[in-house]
Symmetry: C3
Subunit: 570 residues, 3 copies
Amino acid sequence: MEMKETKRTSPNGLSNFVDIHEVPEEEEEEEEDEHECKRNKPVKAADHKEKRMSNKPMKFHEVKRQNQNFGRQVSLETGFSVLNGDKKGRKTALPRSGNSFGGFGSADRREAETRKGDFNIFRTKSSLVKQNSLLPFRKESGIDSQYNDASCGLDDSINKSVPAGRYFAALTGPELDQVKDSEDILLPKDKKWPFLLRFPIGCFGICLGLSSQAILWRALASSPATRFLQIPPIINLSIWLLALSVLVAVSITYTLKCAFYLEAVKREYFHPVRVNFFFAPSIVCMFLAIGVPPCIAPGNLHPAVWCVFMAPIVFLDLKVYGQWLSGGKRRLCKVANPSSHLSVVGNFVGAILAAKVGWMEAGKFLWAIGFAHYLVVFVTLYQRLPTSEALPKELHPVYSMFIATPAAASIAWGAIYGEFDGLARTCFFIALFLYCSLIVRINFFRGFQFSVAWWSYTFPMTTASIATIKYAEQVPCVISKGLALSLSLMSSTMVSVLFVSTLLHAFWWQTLFPNDLAIAITKRRQGGKERKPIKKAYDIRRWTKQSPLSLVSGMRKQNSEEKDGDEVEK
Amino acid sequence: MEMKETKRTSPNGLSNFVDIHEVPEEEEEEEEDEHECKRNKPVKAADHKEKRMSNKPMKFHEVKRQNQNFGRQVSLETGFSVLNGDKKGRKTALPRSGNSFGGFGSADRREAETRKGDFNIFRTKSSLVKQNSLLPFRKESGIDSQYNDASCGLDDSINKSVPAGRYFAALTGPELDQVKDSEDILLPKDKKWPFLLRFPIGCFGICLGLSSQAILWRALASSPATRFLQIPPIINLSIWLLALSVLVAVSITYTLKCAFYLEAVKREYFHPVRVNFFFAPSIVCMFLAIGVPPCIAPGNLHPAVWCVFMAPIVFLDLKVYGQWLSGGKRRLCKVANPSSHLSVVGNFVGAILAAKVGWMEAGKFLWAIGFAHYLVVFVTLYQRLPTSEALPKELHPVYSMFIATPAAASIAWGAIYGEFDGLARTCFFIALFLYCSLIVRINFFRGFQFSVAWWSYTFPMTTASIATIKYAEQVPCVISKGLALSLSLMSSTMVSVLFVSTLLHAFWWQTLFPNDLAIAITKRRQGGKERKPIKKAYDIRRWTKQSPLSLVSGMRKQNSEEKDGDEVEK
Amino acid sequence: MEMKETKRTSPNGLSNFVDIHEVPEEEEEEEEDEHECKRNKPVKAADHKEKRMSNKPMKFHEVKRQNQNFGRQVSLETGFSVLNGDKKGRKTALPRSGNSFGGFGSADRREAETRKGDFNIFRTKSSLVKQNSLLPFRKESGIDSQYNDASCGLDDSINKSVPAGRYFAALTGPELDQVKDSEDILLPKDKKWPFLLRFPIGCFGICLGLSSQAILWRALASSPATRFLQIPPIINLSIWLLALSVLVAVSITYTLKCAFYLEAVKREYFHPVRVNFFFAPSIVCMFLAIGVPPCIAPGNLHPAVWCVFMAPIVFLDLKVYGQWLSGGKRRLCKVANPSSHLSVVGNFVGAILAAKVGWMEAGKFLWAIGFAHYLVVFVTLYQRLPTSEALPKELHPVYSMFIATPAAASIAWGAIYGEFDGLARTCFFIALFLYCSLIVRINFFRGFQFSVAWWSYTFPMTTASIATIKYAEQVPCVISKGLALSLSLMSSTMVSVLFVSTLLHAFWWQTLFPNDLAIAITKRRQGGKERKPIKKAYDIRRWTKQSPLSLVSGMRKQNSEEKDGDEVEK
């Protein structure tokens, strides 16, 4: 939604700087298969070919420099800093590394710079256009068409949507955030990138954790089950304000990233794990609306609030679930991972908010959508199909996501149907069992490096606590109240610990935002002088052994080359 | 059921013309695996061997004519037309192509004729028997035993149930109705086949679309939610009569096909997509019973109606679901495709009818069966397992099937449990979301060639409309009524457009029934002079790359031959 | 639980006899993957390496005897019988075969004995320790350290948890109880093993069948739906007492097995099918508590009963479901088989008992757990994924398990929520349909050899009967009562037949307990002098053809060796 807007507002300053790919088309194209593409868009297909040709110079390792001019053009573009229009962005951004302004050295050096040191490749194209519009002299020069070719090629090779398989092939770890050793990336690993480039979508997880805490403390203060605790409502208010301010800060920062590094945002959107985090901003807003302190909004909320916050969720639902169902590369059995719960839980949260604004039927609609897809995701994740690559072998914080959805479903059903009946209890108890199941494996949760994504693993605990409070309202006994209290305590402790850790990492150690390598993978694998065999994305062959005969190594090489090509087009 | 009947009534005119395979046995045999088969039926196994030997001459390309007599026998059998008993069938059938009576030319020519021009291979065996019984002189001739061998061989190679994998290997398209370029078929592609052979089971889809419209207009006329529209009941009556007459026409035609081309019908039954359409006739009958105009049947229907219409559904349920569960070749993860919804929706329609005749418990039974299998089908289709071959990459009208089942489940639950409660609403909203999900991808539905199968994609829209009317009864507000109206309008428009298209295709362009290539695939792949590596039916190896080493091509050839054999017996 | 206890009480007699692997660690280790293992336990990893080296002499066929001393040590240990402490065990055990006390012959002979004739390898380690503690002179000998090495190697190669894939690779049949022809086993096939080693966990199935009958006859005697039958309560009492006595006998025997052959028990625990039978003892206890005759326990049961019987189930739930979800080797898509229902049904039985003791909320908790996992298991089994190896092609008694879970779920829901509502009926009807589905395929159930595991296939029938009686209480009509009666009759007949068969097999033919080959598979495949291509455990390559080229057999050999290694570490 926002991405589109950003795009549309870009002035097409240079008419012959072809802005080839619009986001929505890009994405649709992926859902269609090739022949569809060929049939309906012959012109576009031709375009593709053209671009592929112009694309070559970007593959520095494979291609002998056949046309040194290209390198020069790219370097030219690169060398010039953005002159106006993004001053505000610069303020927050870290100082650029010097070598991106490479001067006019040898072509080799420039090329290496372009690839390694140039953060411009992730810039929003509109800002590139603006730069270009400031260089009118270039229009007259004879290298103009070549320049266009080169920039198209650059667009194509770097900014075109990275195939889903590529992420699985190049990245590793349960959050697909570590680059495999064998992979090369587009940006320099050894120096710090601009702040905005290092600011991942996962930062909304902080807001998730805090805003759900606001709901929890509101429930603790107001629920009949925990009234005996005499929690003052001021805690709810203060946490809510904190969550709100963090949300504002994170939103502004990420909006800046959208404005200046749209290509990086796109890459996050195409990342099989990260795409689920695009649901987070809306969920946070709804959390804040649900947990709004009574002193701020005394009566019922206006349904418009629900409409505004729900629109992105429904839009993303249609997008993401459609990809699962119709999908080629992003079919569910490939992309399913515990983060997929995040794309389901939004519906239940929306249902809770719908009950709060009084639109019960809308809530039931959302609950139904959420439930249908929760069922599919739950079964798929439990089966752990061999085609699903993103699932880590070992347990990991990401598994706490399993708790969030049934807990939210339980609260939502209770809210929209007015009673905490069999179905709501079933959902609640499923969440509780999964919680137990993770707690007894608590030692698996140690030994992982802290990252900002951890935050999103706290809100499931909070959601479970809130569901337990709702349950304790229905079944008021010592056990249920004790459970509610201890779970609330655990989740609050966890959030406090993470909050302190985050502050320490952010301001003391300044290691909160390491280079976000996951977005900088190359679109195709770039091997040595000859393209090496790429592990095919969702390849079942992982379970098959390749013939390890040394004397037919030629076969293997050839073989793997085919695989390589295969992956690219599949 | 019908197939059985037809078969049983066949007179065994010639005692030594062995009618080896009865339909039910055929099918059971598939469910068992080989060793079971060997242990329990040693006689039969021996039979098989015999047949396999006599089978050889049918593989024209692979086998050097070792026994030209066989060709002659086949041709003899072929050449004689059916002399009596099927006069009625002839009336509807198109004139036979001349070259099936080939005279007594060279063996080569005869063979080619047999294969290419002979529609008799799909004839009901009983009519062949009748032919033979009219040729008593042949009994005395010395070639009699050879004749039997040959006809057995012919039976075996053509009429024996085609393995499920073969359909996936030879056919393509979301409805598995297009033959791959590399495949050869048994009948001539370049001329028009007899009408009955070109009349697919999918024609019952027309009745599905029309009869569901009758229900819709009955609901529009009688529902309190749409009473303000003042729809006259005459519309329901006229559509109902139209649907009834179309059903009668289609049923008679298809019964004739069963009578004269039972082998073709069998092949449709073994087709992984088409088998689901065998549920259609019963569903149509139930639709007509549900949508019967009040002036025709004023009171409640008699339960006998339900029993009669439901029997085939239950029988097919046991058959088809048993294959999914116990299945070797037809296990669910292989055959699942959107049409599978058709084999599930019958249960829900049966439940609605059960509620109408007053047998609530029977309805609950059917609802439970339907729901259990809907769950499995829904999850399986959403996951899009790599083993499932039938799922097209792109979206297709066939995806509208997704809407039908939850909508019908919702109506049925409301009808049998007397209230449109949480579960019914959940099902309804799931249907609604899937509807939205398809509508936003409306451009995927363009560009497909019209075929009679399109009809079956209209009844989901109608079912959704009826469910919306039920919902609007429960939640009478502007939005729900508006939704009910617009969905009804859409479905009626769609049906009208299709009706006109069908009439135009049928009578103006006369292209409604093209050659039904899908039923004429060879049982085994028949390649050129060298057998190419065959893509194995449900082979996961699609994802694995074959070793492309040219110097070990011999290995590949051997390999593929094995695969071929493998496929046939698996 | 019990396993742990047994272990903990073992006196560490010999300090330098390193008891390397404790059961829980062993198991956890499997859940972690290798790098985790390496990181956290460097010492242990080193240990492994050491052991692997000392392990070599155990692979008799591959390795040229490089160190004959090892063989001697093993033989020494083996030769000595247990001198004290297990006298009681000896009473029930069959006399040991003579050749396990091999004296001090040639090293070769001793090695063969060790492997083939030595039942000690499955002994509880504590008893081995005891043996050793009686041989103090060995401490002084110089071969002591070597001895330790050897015994560690022995522990490692035989007693370390066999990888899940190994079971699938080496065993066949729907119960994974037959050893493939190509496999070698650790114990002699041609002579009778000690009774305890031949006593499988499946024997608790007898108790399952009998105790569920007790419930059935209690229900028949007391239900309003069948009161007209005037069943005397004495039948319930007598069956209940019989079931109780059988349970006691089986429990004592299996406890002895745990005490003396803990390693064999462990192997049963790691067996993908048998692990589900570890739920059986608790389920039997709960069955007995549910079916307790009114004359024995007139009032409500005390909740403590539920706690005691439920604890092992919850413990195993956490264990087994955790493996499914987090699993590497035991992920659900690999180990799912109809017996998995047994690990789900325990929750529903627990819910019924919870309702009986008055703890409704606990029952709802269990029902939720059970339902969530039933859903996953049901869908997974219905899909019949190609990764799931345990599923037999043909139908088999094991499929009756499908009936048990929905029937129990139905009864449980009715009991804990107090009404036999829509959900309970849905579950009940699903069970009924699956029952029908199996009955129409009744001929598939013939021709299988009787085994004690058959018993566990009777309790689903009984459960279905009880559910039908509950249903008949709600819907009292001729059909429901007739159904209840006929199903009860069928299940009782089945149990009677099996009871007689079991008695005949046990005492007349004495063939009830054949050698339990499934527990004696080697940990790694031990081929002849040339390694044949090994079918990889959960290998999808089963569907792919191996290159059958004889001239590149070297490639194959190498290939299979790699696969072998792969399987072990994966």
